[in-house]
């Protein structure tokens, strides 16, 4: 990212203030942390207002009010049914009131009902049916030239056995003894490989984020001292 000298300087200073926490908690870190909380909350609000509230609510209910600085609303007719989400939104804000904050439940009910209704179908389709479908692979894979592709066949068997045994492990309403216990044990091993892979990737991710910050710090030092 190309940054102006002032932006780069602020980047460097604020980065060092946060990194100072590695030594111990200190006023510089606390300052930066509190600044972060305030600025990010306001950033989210500003983006929400200008990107969604103004064009999709205010400009729809009263286009004439905003058409001077939002030209896309100029020729639009008012759509008064958008008063419904406006009312629900205002009900949500009653949560801040000492009395009457039970009204926010109506808005929450809409949000929760919407999420429940959409998730019901989407999770069934994408995370259940489609996943089972993707697991239905041939146990023996044949080469075009004839003969069995041992590597691919082994991989398919690992996948099918892994999914099945992992699901058996999660079946907690039956005691894991005997055959169920053995299958469940295989499931645990597969899950341990999964978590090991996740651990490796998580370490990789965290190091990558640090690398990005170090690059910015080095650019700042280059700006000041001309080294690197």
């Amino acid at each position: 990212m190309n940054l102006s000298p002032l932006e780069l300087t602020l980047n460097g200073i604020l980065t060092l203030m946060i990194l100072s926490f590695l030594y111990k908690d200190n006023p510089f870190y606390k300052f930066a942390e509190h600044l972060f909380v305030g600025v990010s909350a306001a950033y989210w609000m500003v983006q929400g207002v200008w990107q969604t509230l103004m064009p999709n609510l205010i400009a729809r209910i009263t286009p004439g009010l905003v058409s001077s600085f939002m030209p896309e609303a100029a020729d639009r007719a008012p759509e008064y049914h958008f008063i419904i989400p406006a009312l629900f939104g205002l009900l949500l804000l009653t949560r801040l009131l000492p009395k009457g904050n039970w009204l926010s439940r109506w808005a929450l009910a809409f949000v929760v009902g919407y999420a429940a209704g959409t998730n019901f179908v989407r999770y069934l389709q994408s995370d259940f049916v489609a996943q089972i479908q993707s697991t239905m692979l041939p146990l023996l894979v044949l080469r075009d030239s004839g003969g069995i592709d041992i590597g691919q066949s082994f991989s398919h068997i690992v996948l099918i056995v892994g999914v099945f045994s992992g699901l058996v492990y999660f079946f907690f309403s039956k005691e894991h003894k005997g055959v169920t216990g053995s299958i469940s044990r295989v499931g645990i091993w597969i899950l341990m490989i999964t978590f090991g892979a996740s651990f490796g990737y998580t370490v990789m991710a965290r190091i990558s984020l640090l690398l990005g910050r170090m690059q910015v710090l080095m650019r700042w030092i280059e700006q000041i001292f001309g080294i690197f």
Binding site: E72, Y201, I207, L210
Partner: protein, 284 residues
């Protein structure tokens, strides 16, 4: 105190120092090593290569500055690839900070490197909208239900690129850059599967293992973390050598990444040596 006792009670700031050095020293020496794309990354590259000129690609920027080191190189490489292939690019964001990340790509990559490309015809920035998966559900049915104008305030109907885009189904590819929720999983669930739209993912390394179940039947391909970005850069440079100088951000960071991984492995091994030695002492 023995060496093992000292190591067992090691001040964590010493570990922090080692990690810091493991990252800084290779960065100073600027070492690079060749990258070899894996099939899951090559699948995205080949898909973009197969799209005819004039195809429209949607790039949702669903990340914030915290994950920019992993995802910016992917977004940069994909943007260069798509514009070089004369594909039309439309960006949007489910995360508020995503709009800023997209703006930076336009300012630092598109405008200087592709001056012949015209905003509104070749690329468009629709910006952020609230709603997460609700937004995806809305624009699957009709883009204009939520997107009435782009970030500059130009009505969507006045943008030539958007004339043939009415719903999400009109995009030939959704190339999502994702750092968490909402992200690639939601795009697959709410757009890819119900709308039968090809979805490709550039995700952080934390999220990448969780997306493997969707490949290849529900996802074209995936770039996982900085390694995935480096692999895509390698594929891009091989096909388009003119990008060799500027498209190696992720590749340059893989050497410090490797050193840091090695240091962490050494620390884990030392920790286990301490543990087994202590256990043996207790048993004796």
């Amino acid at each position: 105190m023995s060496i093992l006792d000292n190591l067992q009670n090691l001040d964590r700031r010493i570990i922090f120092l080692f990690i810091g050095l493991a990252v800084i020293v290779p960065l100073i020496f600027n070492l690079t090593f060749p990258e070899h794309p894996t099939p899951i990354v090559t699948a995205i590259f080949d898909f973009v290569e197969s799209l005819p000129e004039g195809s429209v690609v949607l790039m949702p920027f669903d990340y914030d500055p915290s994950t920019a080191p992993e995802l910016d190189p992917m977004a940069t490489a994909l943007m260069r690839h798509c514009l070089t292939r004369n594909l039309k690019v439309c960006t949007m964001a489910l995360w508020p900070e995503g709009q800023g990340m997209a703006n930076n790509i336009f300012t630092n990559v598109v405008e200087p490197e592709f001056p012949e490309k015209v905003y509104g015809i070749d690329y468009v920035n629709l910006g952020y909208k609230a709603g997460a998966q609700g937004l995806i559900n809305t624009i699957l049915l009709n883009m204009r239900s939520m997107y009435t104008a782009d970030t500059r305030g130009t009505p969507v109907d006045d943008l030539p690129l958007m004339k043939k885009v009415i719903t999400l189904r009109d995009f030939d590819l959704i190339m999502n850059f994702s750092a968490g929720k909402p992200g690639s999983k939601e795009w697959i669930q709410f757009a890819g599967d119900p709308g039968d739209i090809p979805i490709a993912s550039g995700s952080t390394a934390v999220q990448a293992p969780l997306l493997y179940p969707y490949y290849p039947s529900q996802m074209v391909g995936m770039m996982g973390g900085l390694k995935g970005a480096a692999e895509y850069e390698a594929a891009l440079i091989e096909a388009y050598p003119q990008f060799k100088e500027q498209t190696s951000i992720a590749t340059q960071l893989m050497a410090p990444q490797a050193v840091a991984h090695f240091v962490i492995i050494i620390f884990v091994i030392i920790g286990n040596i301490i543990y087994f030695t202590e256990r043996k002492k207790k048993r004796l």
